[in-house]
Symmetry: C2
Subunit: 203 residues, 2 copies
């Protein structure tokens, strides 16, 4: 194995294991930026929104007696590394979540640090494993607006297969207009954080 130069088999194997571990820390995906310090609530919440590609979007279910109905969905707050904090979704009314939102806009999206792989061996419910819930109104983004152009780039860059999803399903771009932020990233209860502090934070 001339091509490996001075690396012996053991060194090479350790090298590969270590390199691979750096990747799998983020469940197969490389993190775009380092985990912020938990004392910085704005940084932590924007990091969670930027690094995660999916979450659970909850709406009021008209079919199920007004029950809060959580649904696993993909989202994006911007092109990788350039998130703005507002989550955009690509939903079809074939799915109950979009139908619910068109009747009652009250909604929240919950995002966990756990699938990023940075919580280590800590339990997903341990307050040191960060979690974020953004609550507000789930609104249709006008397909002809400049915001729709930004949202499409945001969604399609993080979810490349979306651009090939069936046209007949009439996917609609939704945004969560955020009214409240619930962040847990340490002991001591939710971190005080206003929507303005969250949105104005520069990544």
């Amino acid at each position: 194995m001339e091509s490996h130069g001075n690396l012996n088999p053991l060194k090479l194997s350790i090298f590969i294991l270590v390199s691979f571990e750096a990747l799998v820390l983020a469940n197969g995906r490389v993190l775009l930026s380092k985990r912020p310090d938990p004392t910085d609530a704005a940084a932590m919440s924007r990091w969670l929104a930027s690094e995660n590609s999916w979450g659970v979007l909850s709406t009021i279910s008209s079919d199920l007696g007004g029950a809060p109905f959580g649904n696993v969905v993909s989202f994006s707050d911007g092109i990788p590394g350039k998130g703005r904090g507002i989550p955009y979704f690509y939903l079809t009314t074939l799915d109950p979540t979009a139908r619910n939102a068109l009747k009652d806009k009250r909604s929240s999206v919950a995002i966990s640090e756990y699938p990023l792989g940075t919580c280590g061996k800590i339990d997903p419910e341990n307050p040191k494993c960060a979690k974020l819930t953004l609550t507000g109104k789930l609104k249709v983004v006008d397909s002809k607006s400049t915001e729709a152009k930004f949202a499409k780039q945001a969604l399609f860059s993080k979810h490349p297969e979306m651009k090939d999803w069936p046209e007949g399903h009439n996917f609609i771009i939704f945004k969560l207009a955020i009214e409240d932020i619930f962040l847990i990233d340490w002991f001591g209860g939710p971190k005080p954080l206003t929507v303005e502090q969250y949105l104005n934070f520069k990544m």
Copy 2:
């Protein structure tokens, strides 16, 4: 490197990479059982509930104008490999979810196949990446009941650190009494599946 016998560096490295990939498929955790065939809705939904250790629990937020409030939580439906399908939770009223449930029991828990690592390169919102939402009532389990004993074993076996969580936080065992099942694991919309079919399925 006599100890590696006939393995040359390249073969050894490939071996290590392949072995490591088998583990990380389940995000660091080995799967308890094989992914069921997507045509078997009962098997797939019970597999999702059994393999996942966390999800998003949604309640009606009394603090936020009745908004559906999703919250990242841990759960368990039984000791590993012996799940019964009913998700149990360990919650404190220091957290809004438990407070909400004590006022309004309507609730759902959403679980994704994506963090298990078995969706491969498919998007989390792609219908072939399975997702499950169980909707019903979030009820306190009587701490003196035999069900509470089962639930504690279920929770503490999958979440060992729970048994050391602060006593002063008064953690309560909750269960989701399931009334509706929403399962997507293939194209063509939600799979028809009754609560009885789900609960009676033998793992």
